[in-house]
C-alpha cells in the first residue's frame, strides 16, 4: 500500500524568480549593477522573452519617461562610472590570477616521513579550509590550514601526495591554470643549501 501522508497536500505557493546569471539580481535591476552589457547578453540568450520585456526600446522609453532630464543625465553618468569600475575590477582580478602561483612543496619531516604543503590557492578565489577538507577526503589523510611565518596561510597534507595533488587541483579547481603551479622539494633545497654552505 502506498504511503498516505496525513493532512492535505498543498500546491506549492512559492514563486520562482529568475536571477541574472551575471550580476545575480532580478534582471529588471541589471541596469544598476555595472555589468549591463554582459547581463543583456546573458538574458537575451537565456530568457529572450524577459529580454524583450526589459530592454526593448518601448520598455526603455517608458522607464525613463518619469525621470527629469537632469535625473536621466545623472543616472546615465552613474551607470557609466559603475561600468568603468566593474571593468577595472575585472581586469585587476584577471591580472592577479595570471600572476598568481600555487606552490606544491614536498617537505621531509623525518627520515622518509613527508608532508605536502600547498600555498597560493586563495588567490584564485578558493577557501583554504574547504580545500583542506577536500584534500583530506581525497587522500584519506590529515589535512589542515596552518599559518606561515610570512603572514599568510597554507594547506598542509600528511604524506607525500605532491604528484597526485597537482592532478587533483587541475581536475577540481579549474580556475588554476597548469602553468601557474610550481613544485618545490624541500629536502633537495636543504641539501643544496647545505652543500653550498659546506663547499665554500
Amino acid at each position: 500500500m502506498a504511503d498516505v501522508e496525513s493532512g492535505e497536500v498543498l500546491e506549492p505557493q512559492s514563486r520562482h524568480v529568475v536571477y541574472c546569471g551575471v550580476c545575480t539580481m532580478p534582471p529588471e535591476y541589471c541596469e544598476y549593477g555595472g555589468t549591463v552589457k554582459k547581463c543583456q547578453e546573458w538574458l537575451e540568450k537565456n530568457h529572450p522573452d524577459m529580454y524583450i520585456r526589459i530592454w526593448s526600446p518601448e520598455a526603455l522609453a517608458a522607464a525613463t519617461a518619469s525621470l527629469s532630464i537632469e535625473a536621466q543625465k545623472r543616472a546615465a553618468k552613474d551607470a557609466q562610472k559603475k561600468a568603468a569600475k566593474a571593468e577595472a575590477a575585472e581586469k585587476k582580478e584577471a591580472d592577479k590570477i595570471a600572476h598568481s602561483i600555487v606552490t606544491i612543496k614536498r617537505i621531509e619531516r623525518n627520515k622518509r616521513k613527508y608532508v605536502t604543503s600547498v600555498s597560493g590557492l586563495e588567490a584564485f578565489g578558493y577557501e583554504l579550509k574547504k580545500v583542506a577538507k577536500d584534500f583530506g577526503k581525497k587522500f584519506a589523510t590529515g589535512s589542515s590550514v596552518t599559518k606561515v611565518p610570512s603572514g599568510g596561510e597554507e594547506i598542509v597534507v600528511q604524506g607525500d601526495v605532491s604528484d597526485e595533488i597537482e592532478e587533483f587541483i587541475l581536475e577540481k579547481y579549474k580556475d588554476v591554470p597548469e602553468d601557474n603551479i610550481e613544485f618545490v622539494d624541500d629536502k633537495k633545497a636543504k641539501k643544496a643549501a647545505a652543500a653550498a654552505a659546506g663547499g665554500s
Binding site: 505557493q13 514563486r15 524568480v17 539580481m25 577557501e127
Partner: protein, 198 residues
C-alpha cells in the same frame, strides 16, 4: 547593514526547541506568512544558522543546506527580517512601501531611504482602508509604525529591492515629507545578497 562583502562562516544546526520558537517569532511578526509556513519551514527540514558581521552582528537562518530565509540583527527591538530571496518567493506575506524610480540607484548603493522617494508620484505609502491588509493595487491598507519591518518595492519593477526596519512611521512620513525612513537596509547586491550560503 551589509554594505561590505561578508565572509561565510560555518553553519550550525539548531535545536528543535529553538526552531520552534523561531517559527513562532516568524509567524507573529509576519501573520500573512501563516498559509505558507509549512513551505517556508518544512517540518522535516532542519534549520541552520550562520553568524554574520555586518554593521551590527547578525544571524542568518538557512534551510535545506543553502536556502536563506531570514536574519536577526543582534540589537534590541529589531524585528526578524526576511532575506530578499524569501520576499521574492512570498511577496504577498510582507508589508510594503514603494520608492520612485529615481530613488532605486541610491537604495541599491546602500544609502538611507529618504521620505521624498516615497512621497513623490512614483512612490507609494500605505492607503488606509477596510478590507485585506494588502489591497489589490498593491497598496498596504494599514499605516506602518516606526520599528515595524517593511519591504521596499520600486516603481516599474516587479520584485522587491530592499528590506529593513522603519525608523519613521508611514503617517509621519506623509506628514513631514522629509527625513530618513529606512536605515541600514538589506538590498539587492549587498553583502548578504551575495553571500555564499552553500
Amino acid at each position: 547593514m551589509f554594505k561590505k562583502d561578508l565572509t561565510p562562516s560555518p553553519k550550525q544546526k539548531l535545536k528543535s526547541s529553538i526552531q520552534r520558537s523561531l517559527r513562532q517569532n516568524l509567524l507573529s511578526t509576519y501573520p500573512l506568512l501563516t498559509p505558507y509556513i509549512d513551505e517556508v519551514l518544512p517540518k522535516k527540514s532542519s534549520l541552520l544558522s550562520m553568524k554574520l558581521q555586518g554593521v551590527e552582528r547578525a544571524t542568518l537562518y538557512i534551510i535545506d543546506d543553502s536556502t536563506p530565509l531570514f536574519y536577526e540583527v543582534d540589537k534590541a527591538d529589531v524585528p526578524l527580517l526576511p532575506h530578499l530571496k524569501l520576499v521574492h518567493r512570498f511577496p504577498q506575506a510582507f508589508p510594503t512601501i514603494r520608492i520612485d524610480r529615481g530613488a532605486i540607484r541610491f537604495v541599491l548603493s546602500g544609502a538611507t531611504l529618504m521620505a521624498p522617494g516615497l512621497t513623490s508620484a512614483g512612490g507609494r505609502l500605505p492607503d488606509p482602508k477596510e478590507g485585506p491588509e494588502r489591497a489589490e493595487d498593491g497598496h498596504w491598507t494599514r499605516e506602518l509604525k516606526k520599528g515595524e519591518p517593511v519591504v521596499v518595492m520600486a516603481e516599474g519593477k516587479e520584485e522587491a529591492c530592499a528590506v529593513g526596519m522603519l525608523v519613521a512611521g508611514t503617517e509621519e512620513v506623509k506628514k513631514n515629507g522629509k527625513g530618513p525612513v529606512v536605515e541600514d537596509a538589506h538590498y539587492l547586491g549587498d553583502g548578504l545578497w551575495k553571500l555564499n550560503t552553500e
